[in-house]
């Protein structure tokens, strides 16, 4: 939890200034659009203690899936060419009507961006300067980031800054945290597979993607002509698919031969062949590194006519298959597709992948009824580099989580994602990639874990759990928390406190989303309450909610939560019944009321969840129940016996009479014997 997180109501703006943390103010009237990252907008921020210090505040909405989970990693990066993060946290953003946004506060004074869109580099660097002030710091940054498993995902000329024409200083790489990795990258800066995917479906980022973006950026810094002028993003992509990225980006430009080598290495479309950091450093050292040869595309000896167009290249056809699934079904049903694959190519892998795609489709049903699945499988078979296309969704195998988070945020039906996972589509995609086997196995293992979570019926599992497992940067997307950026337990507590203050809350704060979120991010705490939260008994659920929030209050060191305490107070009447002893129950109730008046959830929970007292109470109650039962049995017996007053006690009475009679008889006999012996005669 950051020191900057707000816990008050919507901050007041004074002259456009919004307080952020204790000492910072953000000027909502002063936009710094040069530092925007997609729809995460930049504003000027100042330090109230020293107003000459300028900062950049980048304001991110939930929809951008800001990378809050990687803040610690980012702040641990020491490279001076990285934009320094001063602080971060959640703020109720007045321009958005008080809706909570995540704020990234960066050190200001960055200078200008390297290349503005549609323009050429203004740096006027000579080619050695390009190496010293751009290539070297970028390579160093990429190395450090990859060592900490952080991938920037926003490397482009408009997000790289330099001090000015006259100041020869290394570049500074701009914000990469305020948006989902690669989601704001124009398609030219993305490898083909990522560019074809939806912005939030481009995965978690990778070093290979960053190296590629660096290559495109380098080409733009060096270029003197705009090879791509007048081409739309779609045209650029088409050209990349048909001629390869290097040919598309570099085209007819003639750079220094050494730069051509570097660009050929880092712009290679196959991530397995693309230059790694070691190759870049070898190139910087002047060692001769052979650039990889451009891969040859598989070409058919006769075309296939699909949707009115002739196709000779299966990879190009793969990109267009989704435009007409009905014709795909027709071509497959008439065996035209199969004959084209079998007779027009000599590529055995292609043929094998094609038949496997048909088999997989047949295994789930008829081709006609599963045309979407068929198109997905054929796309993967014909061009494994492409992202997955399924029912209008385009995503990389690691990009499904982002799309799921967006769908949950926008309240869209999630059934399509369940289908994708249950039909093993991401697994099929990853097995066709040319990844190292260990990496492939690790991905497939993760998909198995997600599927297992999806199929579990218990609380904390299901599709909600999959969202948070597959998209680590998704904040809690509970409908109850709409408009709030809840990303950890403390922010949840403060949000619940605010909502409780507004009224209309019930003691069941945690729903399926929040339970799944905290089970993913705070598993240890959630484990201790999941049993109660899963119970069908409402009182146990309420007790579980209270215990969870009490643990959070304790962890987050929030001294008082009076509004939450009041909500619980209204809902605990049934919970007290967990204690059987009436006097103890009253005592607990009074204690809870007292703790609630102080807003002390820990105290309230402690009284209700006193395990020792509960066990003692339970044992004593069992004894009391047994005593009651035995007494009732005795009472029933008396009731039956006493129902006939005439016969009750007669046997005992007769026995007593006999005893008395025998005592009298014995006495008379003794007297008679004595009188007989003494000679005295009674009669």
């Amino acid at each position: 939890m950051s020191d900057f997180d707000d816990d008050e109501s919507v901050p007041q703006t004074r002259g456009g200034m919004v307080s952020f943390g204790k000492f910072m103010s953000i000027n909502t009237a002063r936009r710094l659009s040069d530092y925007d990252n997609g729809r995460s907008y930049a504003y000027e921020a100042i330090d109230n203690r020293d107003r000459s210090k300028k900062f950049i505040a980048i304001v991110a909405d939930i929809a951008q899936l800001p990378r809050w989970s990687q803040i610690d990693t980012y702040t641990g990066l020491a490279d001076t060419s990285l934009l320094r993060l001063v602080g971060s946290g959640v703020l109720r953003w007045p321009p958005a009507g008080g809706k909570q946004h995540y704020i990234f506060l960066y050190q200001g004074g960055l200078g200008e961006c390297l290349v503005k869109k549609g323009e050429f580099s203004k740096s006027q660097w000579r080619q050695p300067d390009v190496t010293n002030f751009f290539v070297v710091p970028m390579a160093r940054m990429l190395k450090e980031m990859s060592e900490r498993s952080f991938y920037h995902g926003s490397i482009r000329p408009s997000n790289i800054f330099y001090a000015g024409v006259d100041k020869n200083k290394p570049v500074i790489l701009g914000d990469g945290l305020s948006v989902h990795a690669n989601s704001t990258q124009p398609s030219v800066f993305l490898p083909i597979n990522k560019a074809l995917a939806e912005p939030l479906g481009r995965g978690t980022g990778s070093l290979s993607d960053d190296v590629y973006a660096f290559g495109v950026t380098l080409a733009m810094v060096l270029r003197k002509n705009d090879e791509l002028a007048g081409l739309s993003d779609e045209d650029i992509l088409r050209k990349k698919i048909e001629t390869g990225s290097y040919n598309t980006i570099v085209g007819a430009e003639r750079f220094q031969a050494t730069f051509m080598e570097l660009l050929r290495g880092i712009l290679h479309d196959d991530p397995a062949v693309r230059w790694r950091l070691d190759d870049i450093f070898s190139w910087l050292d002047g060692s001769r590194v052979t650039p990889p040869s451009l891969s040859r595309r598989t070409k058919a000896n006769r075309p296939l006519i699909f949707d009115g167009k002739k196709y000779l290249y299966p990879d190009a056809l793969a990109a267009d298959l989704q435009s007409n699934p009905a014709e795909v079904v027709k071509l497959v049903s008439n065996d035209i597709f199969t004959q084209w694959i079998e007779k027009s190519f000599t590529d055995k892998d292609l043929e094998h992948n094609y038949h496997r795609a048909l088999d997989r489709t047949a295994s789930i049903g008829s081709i006609k009824e599963n045309s979407d699945f068929l198109v997905t499988q054929l796309t993967m078979a014909l061009n494994p580099a492409l992202p997955v296309h399924y029912k209008g969704l385009n995503f990389t195998f690691d990009g499904l989580g982002g799309l799921m988070a967006r769908a949950a945020y926008e309240d869209i039906d999630m059934s399509i994602f369940k289908d994708i996972l249950l039909q093993n589509i991401p697994d099929h995609s990853v097995t066709l990639k040319r990844l190292p086997e260990s990496e492939t196995l690790a991905h497939i293992k993760n998909f198995d874990i997600y599927r297992a979570a999806l199929q579990q019926k218990k609380q904390g599992y299901g599709i909600e759990r999959c969202i948070y497992m597959m998209c680590k940067n998704a904040p809690c997307l509970s409908p109850k928390l709409k408009g709030y950026f809840v990303y950890n337990d403390k922010s949840a507590l403060l949000t619940f406190e605010r909502l409780s203050k507004q009224g209309g809350q019930i003691a069941l704060f945690l729903d399926a989303h929040s339970i799944a979120f905290f089970a993913t991010h705070n598993g240890r705490i959630m484990e201790r309450v999941i049993y109660d939260l899963s119970s069908a008994d409402k009182n146990k659920k309420i007790a579980g909610n209270l215990r969870f929030l009490a643990m959070v209050q304790n962890r987050a060191k929030v001294t008082t939560c009076p509004s939450i305490a009041n909500v619980f107070l209204g809902g605990l009447s049934g919970v007290y019944k967990l204690y059987n002893n009436v006097n103890l129950r009253k005592k607990v109730e009074e204690g809870v009321k007292f703790e609630a008046s102080k807003g002390n959830l820990i105290g309230m929970s402690g009284l209700i969840d006193n395990e020792k007292a509960r066990t003692k109470d339970k044992k004593a109650f069992e004894l009391a129940r047994r005593e009651y039962y035995l007494l009732q049995q005795e009472y029933d017996q008396y009731n039956v016996k006493l129902s006939n007053k005439k016969t009750y006690g007669v046997v005992n009475g007769r026995d007593s009479a006999a005893l008395v009679a025998w005592v009298i008889a014995t006495a008379i006999t003794l007297m008679s014997v004595l009188s007989f012996l003494s000679g005295y005669r009674i009669f």
């Binding site: 059987n580 002893n581 009436v582 006097n583 109650f621 009391a624 129940r625 005593e627 009651y628 039962y629 007494l631 009732q632 005795e634 009472y635 008396y638 009731n639 016996k641 006493l642 007053k645 016969t647 009750y648 006690g649 007669v650 046997v651 005992n652 009475g653 007769r654 026995d655 007593s656 009479a657 006999a658 008395v660 009679a661 025998w662 009298i664 008889a665 008379i668 006999t669 008679s672 014997v673 009188s675 007989f676 005669r681 009674i682 009669f683």
Partner: protein, 169 residues
């Protein structure tokens, strides 16, 4: 079936037949009675109320017959000593038996036994009934205390209802 009925008959016969010891006792008693015939005669006529009581009282009412027998015996004993003091012969025995006053004393003592039984039974049953009523009150009071301390749950009724409902489901 035939085997079963045979077995039953066997069992019935065995229970009706006296054992060896009992037979010997009976023979011994008859011999004693024959030796002390005047006394036996007096006791036979004197103990008629006891014999009637034994025959009249049904199963489980042996206590009343015992009471009557005890008092009947107490009435007979002085006259047995009187018989023995006056020669212990048939004449003396017959004199006592035919003496209305003596026989009245013997029979009144037996009646007194019956009275003891009636009075004692009444007193004891009233006492025990009251004791039972008091115990029931004490049980109710204790149960109320338990309910007051533990709530209705202690009666087990809720649990029973729950179990019944679950059983029906």
């Amino acid at each position: 079936m035939a085997k079963k009925s045979k077995e039953k008959k066997k069992k019935k016969g065995a229970s009706n037949k006296l054992g060896f010891k009992a037979r010997m006792m009976m023979v011994f008693a008859i011999m004693i009675a024959l030796i002390f015939l005047p006394t036996s005669m007096l006791l036979f006529f004197g103990m008629i109320p006891s014999m009637v009581a034994f025959f009249v009282s049904g199963h489980g009412r042996g206590a009343r017959a015992s009471t009557i027998t005890a008092m009947n015996m107490a009435g007979c004993i002085p006259f047995v000593f009187k018989l023995w003091a006056t020669g212990n012969d048939f004449e003396a025995s017959f004199e006592i038996i035919t003496n209305m006053r003596y026989m009245s004393i013997i029979y009144v003592s037996a009646a007194f036994g019956y009275m003891i039984d009636w009075v004692m039974t009444g007193i004891m049953s009233s006492f025990l009934y009251q004791k039972g009523v008091n115990r029931m009150k004490a049980i109710k009071k204790r149960q109320d205390v338990l309910i007051e301390h533990w709530g209705e749950g202690v009666t087990g009724k809720k649990a029973q209802i729950k179990e019944t409902v679950e059983g029906e489901d």
